[in-house]
C-alpha cells in the first residue's frame, strides 16, 4: 500500500490540487459546485483533455507539439465549412479531417525523428504554416455553423451525462491501455527515457517518435471537431488557447517535460485544474489581462516543478 502511494504520488498530488481548488472556490461562490456548473466545467476540461492526449505522448518522448493550436483550428473550421452545416456530409468529412490532421502530425514526426529537426522549431513552424494556409483558403472569413450531429456531440447529453465527457472517458481508457498494457506504451517510455538504450533493445526509436506526433495530430483533429460542436460555429483562432493549455495540463499532471515518464490520468487532473483555475479567475471578475497573467504564472510554476523533478532524477 505504502509503495503504491509512493509510486502514484505525483498523480495523487495532481488530483488533490484540483479538488482543493474546487473546494476553496465553492465555499466562496456557492453556485460553483452546482451540478449544472460541474457539467459545464467537465465539458470544458474534456476538450483540453483530448488535445492533451497527443501532447502527453509527444512530451513523453521528450519533445513538444506547438502545432496543436492550428490543427484544432483546421478541424473546427473544416467541420463547419466543408459540410455547409449538413449532417450527411459528415460521412466523408470526419474521416477526411482526421486523416488530414494526422498527416500534419506525421510530417512533424518525420522531420523531427528522421531529419533531426528540433521539435520546438518544427511544430512552431508547422503551426504558422497551418495558420497561413487556413487564412489563405478561407480568405479570412471561415464562418459557417456546425452540423446538427456535431453540435449534439458538443452540447447534448444522454441521461444527464454530456456526450463530451463520455467520449473523453472512452478515449482516456483507450490511451491508458495503450500506455500501460500495450507494446507501444513500453516503447514510448523507453525512448523518452534513453533513446540509445531503446535502440540497443531493438526498439525503432524513429517510428515510435513519429507515431507520437501522428497521435497528437489525430487527437487535435478530434478535439477541433468537438470544439466546433460545443461552440456551435467556428472562427479563425478558435484553437489558439489549446497550445498552452495542453502543455500545461500535461505538466501539471506530473509528466516530466524532460520526457520518459508520465501518465494520462495525471493529464486528466491537469485539464481539470486548468479549467477550474480559468473558471475561478473568471468568477473573480478580474480584468482579462490579469486573468491571462495569473494563468500564465500558474503554468510556468508547474513547469518549474516538473523540471526540478527531472533534475533530481
Amino acid at each position: 500500500m505504502k509503495m503504491k502511494v509512493q509510486r502514484h504520488q505525483t498523480l495523487i498530488v495532481s488530483y488533490l490540487i484540483a479538488v482543493i481548488l474546487f473546494a476553496a472556490i465553492s465555499v466562496y461562490k456557492p453556485g460553483f459546485a452546482s451540478i449544472d456548473h460541474i457539467r459545464v466545467l467537465c465539458s470544458e476540461a474534456a476538450i483540453i483533455g483530448v488535445v492533451a492526449i497527443g501532447q502527453t505522448f509527444v512530451i513523453i518522448t521528450g519533445g513538444i507539439d506547438l502545432s496543436v493550436a492550428w490543427m484544432v483550428g483546421i478541424a473546427a473550421i473544416m467541420v463547419t465549412n466543408t459540410t455547409h452545416g449538413l449532417d450527411e456530409n459528415l460521412i466523408w468529412a470526419i474521416p477526411f479531417i482526421l486523416i488530414l490532421t494526422t498527416l500534419f502530425g506525421v510530417v512533424n514526426g518525420f522531420c523531427i525523428a528522421y531529419l533531426n529537426m528540433p521539435p520546438i522549431v518544427m511544430t512552431l513552424g508547422m503551426n504558422t504554416v497551418l495558420q497561413g494556409g487556413l487564412v489563405a483558403v478561407t480568405q479570412g472569413a471561415p464562418g459557417g455553423a456546425a452540423p446538427a450531429f456535431v453540435k449534439k456531440m458538443g452540447q447534448g447529453s444522454v441521461i444527464g451525462m454530456p456526450y463530451l465527457i463520455l467520449i473523453w472517458i472512452v478515449l482516456a481508457a483507450a490511451v491508458t491501455l495503450l500506455l500501460f498494457k500495450m507494446r507501444y506504451g513500453r516503447e514510448l517510455f523507453a525512448v523518452g527515457n534513453n533513446a540509445t538504450v531503446a535502440a540497443y533493445s531493438g526498439i525503432s526509436v524513429r517510428k515510435v517518435t513519429l507515431t507520437a506526433y501522428a497521435v497528437s495530430g489525430l487527437t487535435a483533429g478530434i478535439a477541433g471537431m468537438l470544439l466546433a460542436g460545443k461552440v456551435g460555429q467556428s472562427y479563425l483562432g478558435i484553437g489558439d488557447n489549446f497550445q498552452f493549455q495542453s502543455i500545461a495540463a500535461v505538466a501539471i499532471g506530473g509528466t516530466s517535460l524532460m520526457g520518459g515518464n508520465g501518465n494520462y490520468l495525471g493529464t486528466v487532473a491537469g485539464a481539470f485544474t486548468i479549467t477550474i483555475i480559468l473558471a475561478i479567475l473568471a468568477a473573480l471578475n478580474l480584468p482579462f489581462g490579469v486573468q491571462k497573467m495569473a494563468y500564465g504564472i500558474v503554468v510556468l510554476f508547474s513547469v518549474l516543478m516538473s523540471v526540478r523533478k527531472g533534475l533530481r532524477k
Partner: protein
C-alpha cells in the same frame, strides 16, 4: 596507529619506475618527527550515512598517512562509493568527523572539497562530450581576461603543459571529447583531476577502462604523487593491480571497515575472504571446451570505414571466442557490426543464412544479443524499474494478442532475477538505485531475456566486484554448455586468458591472428598483436 609504527621519522623518498629519481613540484617538509600515538595525517571517524531503507555507512573509519597509497576494497554496495562521495562533498554524512593534518575538515559541497585539496577520478566519466579536450580539462577554472573572455591560447598552452608534465601522448586540445575512444576519455578524466593539484587524490575504478600500457603509466604517476607526500585512495577490482601499487589496504564490508593492514601482510585469498565475509573457491571456473561443429556466425571480408578491415571470423556453437589486442583496435566496431550499429560491407552469415544486419531489431530477431560496456548509457534505462528493463528487448515474448500479458512478463522477469541472482527489494525497484554489479546483472538479464543463441559480451565485468564477476563467469560457462556462441571482449587480459577457448587478436582494425587453446597466454596475445606467431 597503522602505518605510523616504524616510520616515526618519515623521510620522503623520491623514485620513479625507471629508478632515475624524481624531482618534486612542491617543496616538502623533510623529516617530520611524529609523536607516538598521534593522529594519522588523514582520518575519517565514525562516519554514518543512511539512505531511505539502507544504512550505506555505519560507523565507518578510514585513516591514511601522507605518502601512502591506500587500496579501498569491498564488494559493490559495501559503502566504498558512499565514503568517497562523503569525502568529496557529494553526500553529507549523518554523523562523523574528518581530520586532515590534525585539523577538522568541514566539507560543504563538491566545490568546497576541491578547494580543500580533495579531488577524485570517477569510474563514471564526468567529461562533457560536446566540449573539446582543453575545455573539459579546465572546465570551471578557465583563465579569463578582464573582459571575461576565455583566452584560448592560454588554454591550449596549459593543456599541452599538462600533457607534457604527465608524459601523455598529445591529443589535439581542440578535438571534441565525444570523438575519443573510452580509454582516452578515461585518461583525460585522470588529467583533469590531477590538474587540480589536490592533497588527497581518489581513483575510483579509474583503471577499469584503460589499456595495460595506460594503466602502468597511471601507476607510475600515482607512485610519484605519493612520493610528493600526497595521500592516494585507490579503488579497483583488480587485485593484481592493487598488489603491485598500494602500500596499505582497507577493506569495507556492509558499510563499515573490517580490516586495515599493510600490503605486505595481505594476500589475495585473504582479501577476497575479508571482502565477502566468506571463502570463495577458484575465481575462474574450470576451463572446459564445449565447442561444436555448427557455425553460428561467419564473417567474410567484412569492413566498416577505417575502423574495421577485411574481417574473416567464425564463431561456433558452444564456443567462447575472445577478442584481444590493445585497446581501440576495432574491437568495439566488430561488436557494433554484429549488432547492426554500423554499416558494413562484406558478407555475414548467421546460422548458415545470409543476412543483412541493418539494425539492432533485426539482430535480436536473428538471435543475437549485445551486452554493452556502458550500462548507464547503453545498457539500462536507469529511471525505470528492473521489470521494465528486463523485458524491454523481449517485448515480442510477452505479448498476448495486442496486449502485454502480465503473467508472461512476470515469468520472464522472475526467471532472470533468479538466473543472475539480482539482489533487489522487488522487481519494481528502480534500476538506477541498484549497485553497479546488480545493474550489470540486470543488463545481462535484459539481453538474455530475448533467448539469444549468439552473445556479444563487450567488457561486461567493468567495475564489477569479484563475487559478481565469479557468478558471471559461471553463467557464461553455463551458456556455452547450452550451445550458445559467445564473443567475449574484456579490457582485463587476465579474464580473456582464463575465460576463452580461443582468442582472435585485433590490430588496427584487422584480425592480426588467432591464439588457440593451450597457447592462450598474455604473452602470446601480445606477440600476435605485434605480428609475431604464438609459441
Amino acid at each position: 596507529m597503522n602505518g605510523a609504527e616504524g616510520r616515526t621519522f618519515a623521510p620522503f623518498i623520491f623514485r620513479t619506475a625507471d629508478g632515475t629519481g624524481f624531482k618534486p613540484h612542491v617543496p616538502v617538509r623533510i623529516g617530520v618527527w611524529k609523536e607516538e600515538n598521534s593522529m594519522a595525517d588523514f582520518e575519517m571517524k565514525n562516519i554514518t550515512k543512511s539512505f531511505p531503507g539502507v544504512k550505506a555507512l555505519d560507523n565507518a573509519h578510514f585513516t591514511a598517512d601522507k605518502g601512502e597509497i591506500v587500496a579501498l576494497l569491498g564488494e559493490n554496495g559495501a559503502g566504498k562509493s558512499t565514503l568517497i562521495k562523503v569525502l568529496c562533498g557529494e553526500h553529507k554524512a549523518d554523523s562523523g568527523e574528518i581530520y586532515f593534518e590534525g585539523r577538522p575538515l568541514k566539507i560543504h559541497g563538491t566545490k568546497s572539497a576541491i578547494k580543500q585539496g580533495i579531488c577524485a577520478v570517477y569510474q563514471e566519466l564526468s567529461l562533457i562530450p560536446d566540449l573539446t579536450v582543453a575545455e573539459n580539462l579546465f572546465l570551471g577554472v578557465y583563465d579569463t581576461a578582464i573582459s571575461g573572455r576565455v583566452s584560448y591560447q592560454e588554454l591550449e598552452k596549459k593543456t599541452l603543459e599538462l600533457f607534457h608534465k604527465y608524459g601523455v601522448d598529445v591529443i589535439d586540445p581542440w578535438t571534441k571529447v565525444s570523438a575519443l575512444p573510452l580509454p582516452k576519455r578515461q585518461m583525460l578524466e585522470i588529467l583533469k583531476a590531477l590538474s587540480k593539484d589536490g592533497e588527497i587524490i581518489i581513483f575510483d575504478e579509474a583503471t577499469s577502462a584503460l589499456s595495460d600500457r595506460q594503466a602502468s603509466w597511471l601507476m607510475d604517476i600515482i607512485r610519484n604523487l605519493a612520493d610528493e607526500g600526497k595521500i592516494i585512495i585507490f579503488i579497483s577490482h583488480r587485485l593484481d593491480e592493487i598488489k603491485a601499487l598500494c602500500t596499505k589496504v582497507i577493506v569495507y564490508r556492509s558499510g563499515t571497515d573490517v580490516a586495515d593492514l599493510p600490503m605486505e601482510e595481505a594476500d589475495a585469498d585473504q582479501l577476497v575472504t575479508l571482502m565477502l565475509g566468506r571463502e570463495i573457491g577458484g575465481y575462474y571456473p574450470q576451463k572446459e571446451c564445449f565447442t561444436k561443429e555448427e557455425v553460428l556466425v561467419s564473417m567474410k571480408n567484412v569492413s566498416s570505414g577505417h575502423k574495421l578491415k577485411d574481417i574473416n571470423l567464425d564463431l561456433k556453437a558452444g564456443e567462447i571466442l575472445g577478442v584481444g589486442g590493445l585497446a581501440g583496435q576495432g574491437q568495439a566496431e566488430l561488436f557494433m557490426a554484429l549488432f547492426g550499429l554500423v554499416r558494413t560491407t562484406g558478407h555475414i552469415r548467421i546460422k548458415g543464412k545470409d543476412v543483412r544486419l541493418k539494425n539492432p531489431r533485426t539482430c535480436i530477431r536473428e538471435g543475437i544479443a549485445l551486452i554493452p560496456e556502458d550500462r548507464g548509457l547503453q545498457g539500462l534505462v536507469l529511471a525505470q524499474s528492473i521489470r521494465e528493463n528486463i523485458v524491454m528487448a523481449a517485448l515480442d515474448r510477452i505479448m498476448k494478442g495486442i496486449f502485454i500479458s502480465e503473467q508472461k512478463e512476470k515469468e520472464i522477469v522472475d526467471e532472470m532475477i533468479k538466473t543472475f541472482s539480482i539482489k533487489a527489494e522487488s522487481p519494481e525497484t528502480i534500476a538506477g538505485t541498484l549497485s553497479g554489479g546488480n545493474q550489470q546483472k540486470v543488463v545481462l538479464g535484459k539481453q538474455l531475456a530475448t533467448k539469444p543463441d549468439i552473445l556479444l559480451m563487450f567488457d561486461i565485468t567493468r567495475g564489477v566486484d569479484v563475487g559478481t564477476k565469479k557468478e558471471m563467469f559461471n553463467v557464461i560457462k553455463q551458456y556455452a554448455e547450452e550451445g550458445k556462441g559467445i564473443l567475449f571482449y574484456s579490457t582485463d587480459m587476465e579474464e580473456l586468458v582464463n575465460v576463452c577457448n580461443s582468442i582472435v587478436v585485433m590490430n588496427q582494425g584487422k584480425i592480426a591472428g588467432r591464439v588457440d587453446r593451450e597457447l592462450i597466454s598474455r604473452e602470446n596475445i601480445l606477440r600476435v598483436s605485434v605480428g609475431e606467431k604464438a609459441v
